[in-house]
Symmetry: C2
Subunit: 350 residues, 2 copies
Amino acid sequence: MKTYRIKDIAALSGVSTGTVDRILHKRGKVSEEAQRKVEKVLKEIDYHPNLIARSLALKKRYRFAALIPSFAKGEYWDKLCEGIDKAAKELFSYNVEVEKLYFNQYDRSSFDALIPGLEEADCQGVVIATQFRDSVIRLTERLDRLEIPYVLIDAFIENTHCVAYYGTNSYDSGYIAGRLLYEQIHPTDDLAIFRFIRKGDQLITQVMKREEGFRDYLSKQAYGGRIHAVQLYADEPEKNRAILDDFFSRQPQVGAGIIFNSRAHLLGGYFHAKKQAFKLIGYDVIDANVACLLDGSITHLIAQRPEVQGFNCVRALFRHLILKEKVEPINYMPIDILIKENIPYYNNYI
Amino acid sequence: MKTYRIKDIAALSGVSTGTVDRILHKRGKVSEEAQRKVEKVLKEIDYHPNLIARSLALKKRYRFAALIPSFAKGEYWDKLCEGIDKAAKELFSYNVEVEKLYFNQYDRSSFDALIPGLEEADCQGVVIATQFRDSVIRLTERLDRLEIPYVLIDAFIENTHCVAYYGTNSYDSGYIAGRLLYEQIHPTDDLAIFRFIRKGDQLITQVMKREEGFRDYLSKQAYGGRIHAVQLYADEPEKNRAILDDFFSRQPQVGAGIIFNSRAHLLGGYFHAKKQAFKLIGYDVIDANVACLLDGSITHLIAQRPEVQGFNCVRALFRHLILKEKVEPINYMPIDILIKENIPYYNNYI
DNA sequence: GTCCGGTGTGTGTCCGAACACAACGCACGC
DNA sequence: GCGTGCGTTGTGTTCGGACACACACCGGAC
């Protein structure tokens, strides 16, 4: 199993390495005859350039930017960041640097405010979290014009020219949650859907899609119970206790429920404190949710490996720009089902 | 964020690059004064060598060998091989080659027969599937003496000096299967455990451990049904039909069961053909099992991403030998729970 | 004073690819 | 016949690190 070098190709086709180089890179200034000779050899030997040597010779520095929501330790976007950092570290020797730009996921203008800075930074690739659809579309159009490749993460947006997309199918993950909850109850048992409201919230499509999938599963099963919606307030924990106490005093028969964002731990904590048995399904492997899974106050978590997503986003840009590989454009992440017994093994093999 | 080169260190400490090189590689022949000066600089700048340049300069070729069971297309070890091949391809530019040596997983002597060939091959690293405990121990002792690093895959073997181990906790995956099956039945329903016998079989520890975990889960739940063991024959499909027909005519109340190896599809096919409703749990995402999951004849699969395992094994050797990183020695793979609804997303993000 | 060994030290080349630059041949014009 | 210009080609240097080799220096032996 011989590996060929440019020098070998040059020798085989009777030209110099410079000519081979011009042909490989389509730089022109090559006679038809040389072109023919080299192409003939190339066809025979299946040449793969040595990527190590290439990236050493290309003295280029690559700067990637990542536009992601700001986060607290242990939250979803923190985990995603871990993956980004891991990729950055691994690609350090390739002269790749990743700069993270944070926005407030509940405030569109904070996202828009990042754009000018992004353009100044003259980066070669961008990772974009797609919280704000319209703003993202506007940004991608500008990046298209500047011919800067970008990767989308979270929700998929059609008609963009992204190099890759990483995310989950929210509808299906809701559908699966439907099955997991339905299997734990009787077909006529009542259920609760807990929702968090935040001042000035826009509806988050991801959460809406999950609920849609969830409800669709139940209706396909001829589910005969009632689904109660309970509104909670993200910023006001004391208020929530009162709301929940009130709800369960009026609807004591409700013994199972779901919450479509990563705040299930807030409910888990409530049930745990009151020693109330409740079948609760939540989303995302964040530290607080894991604790609830282990103490039994959450029965299932549905997750999507944010670290792997972050890692893959950066790697997709790397593969596109440096390795010049074809990158699979649409990548739905696995929908992981986690219970008390398998969560200890849910590590990140990246 | 400046990156330092050997040349920079040399300039900063007032010596030549050769001296810095000797100090970094502990090649000796350096005066105490030079040692001191360079170490002082090294402490200040946190030097990380450029891995790209290093692996270009090291003209070394790395040959790894992988001792794994032979397989048919789509089977467990085939998937593992995919991961190995993917790693090999990715590391090609680093001058890493992986040679696969196959043995018959039901015949210890076929494993032993590979050892002489392995020693001749003078490879720098070995991946070993641990089917035959004693033979593996003997091999690892020889490798220890030859100072050839190795990675174990499948079952963990204590007291070896392996660089890394990748596998699943069989007991816990059986325990989880117990929960998944128990949640689908009533506490007094009967269950079936299907076993495949093969001529000259030794008991496979992995399968035994799974069953142990499974039974332990049930006994902790005060399970009150009977567990029937059904013996089937790996090589004789017609015989199995008769055995199953006979079993279900005598025990028609059994509506759920499990099989602890990857042959659940053989049972799934049986139930599907007879249009018999049966709650069946199996192991491993092999193509045939996936088909059964989708047509409903298998309710759950428990899996462990063989591709990722294969990939990581090779990468562990690479990281140890070439990158000289610390590799986490014991790596239990996640225990994945797969149902009809999430199997379409169970791709391999490696 | 010369020769020899050993110890440190610096320089040079190589790895494979990228790219700049010099140089070549040839046709054409004056 | 000679210079100009263009199209084409080969050579040389670079990237950062590894390693071989040559050489400077010093002390001791003759």
